[in-house]
Assembly symmetry: C2
Homo-oligomer: 129 residues x 2
Amino acid sequence: MTKQKKLVLDIAANSNAHLNAEEIFLLAKKEMPAIALGTVYRNLNILVEEGLLRRISIAGQPDRFDHVGDEHEHLICRQCGKLRDIRVDGILDKIKSATGEDVLSVSLSAYYICADCRRCLRHTDMTAN
Amino acid sequence: MTKQKKLVLDIAANSNAHLNAEEIFLLAKKEMPAIALGTVYRNLNILVEEGLLRRISIAGQPDRFDHVGDEHEHLICRQCGKLRDIRVDGILDKIKSATGEDVLSVSLSAYYICADCRRCLRHTDMTAN
DNA sequence: TTAACTGCAAATCTTTTGCACAATC
DNA sequence: GATTGTGCAAAAGATTTGCAGTTAA
């Protein structure tokens, strides 16, 4: 494991901020100014493949990266895109028994309108749409 | 609703093939040769926003589009990317009670290795990795 | 007529890749 | 010394957008 790869892993795994590649790159640059964005992408892909990081794909957003172990799902605001971790017990087993297949992993995203956005919407164009 | 929008909706909603924008565009062109790819993208976005289509986002793949009603989730092969519909009862309610939030929708993707790929892998480099 | 929508092409954004060089075993 | 990884820059792929022209209420 190279210095670059370790740095990328440290930043991505030790943040709860669901960072994307660009953000990880900017943080990595502080530690290692010569690191290239391509290197960050390359290592993120490798780390995901090795099972050391989890990739979160949300439509219209760049991929985000999350630590593994401590399995959790994501609650996403339809309005502002903010992400919150949630814990749901027994999902993997539920899917295994629903499908009868040897399911390796499950990724679940739930959508809602967060409190902030609910407040906003109430104060603006209630008549719109 | 314009002819173009209706055509896009018809193609996307009446196929079980989880088509992406490009594929929908090609099918639409047969019916309406002058239609533009940009128009397809624009209408897909509108139709998703209006709740008439569902968007399926999978890392590394272009977005796919699916009909609504008949709620189902997706089982995806890690190896070849093939998609299969699965039905899992009570997911939305489970997430609602797990979060205590007014969850609007849930999108769940489960990953496995499909039978075809299992067969392939068995016959090739069993010692690799 | 006027507002909304289209086709087209260029732009944008994210991610990947080729290549020469550097680091590591 | 060979292999593997890096930095850089260019390319690729998906999607969006500006604009002038078209369509349709």
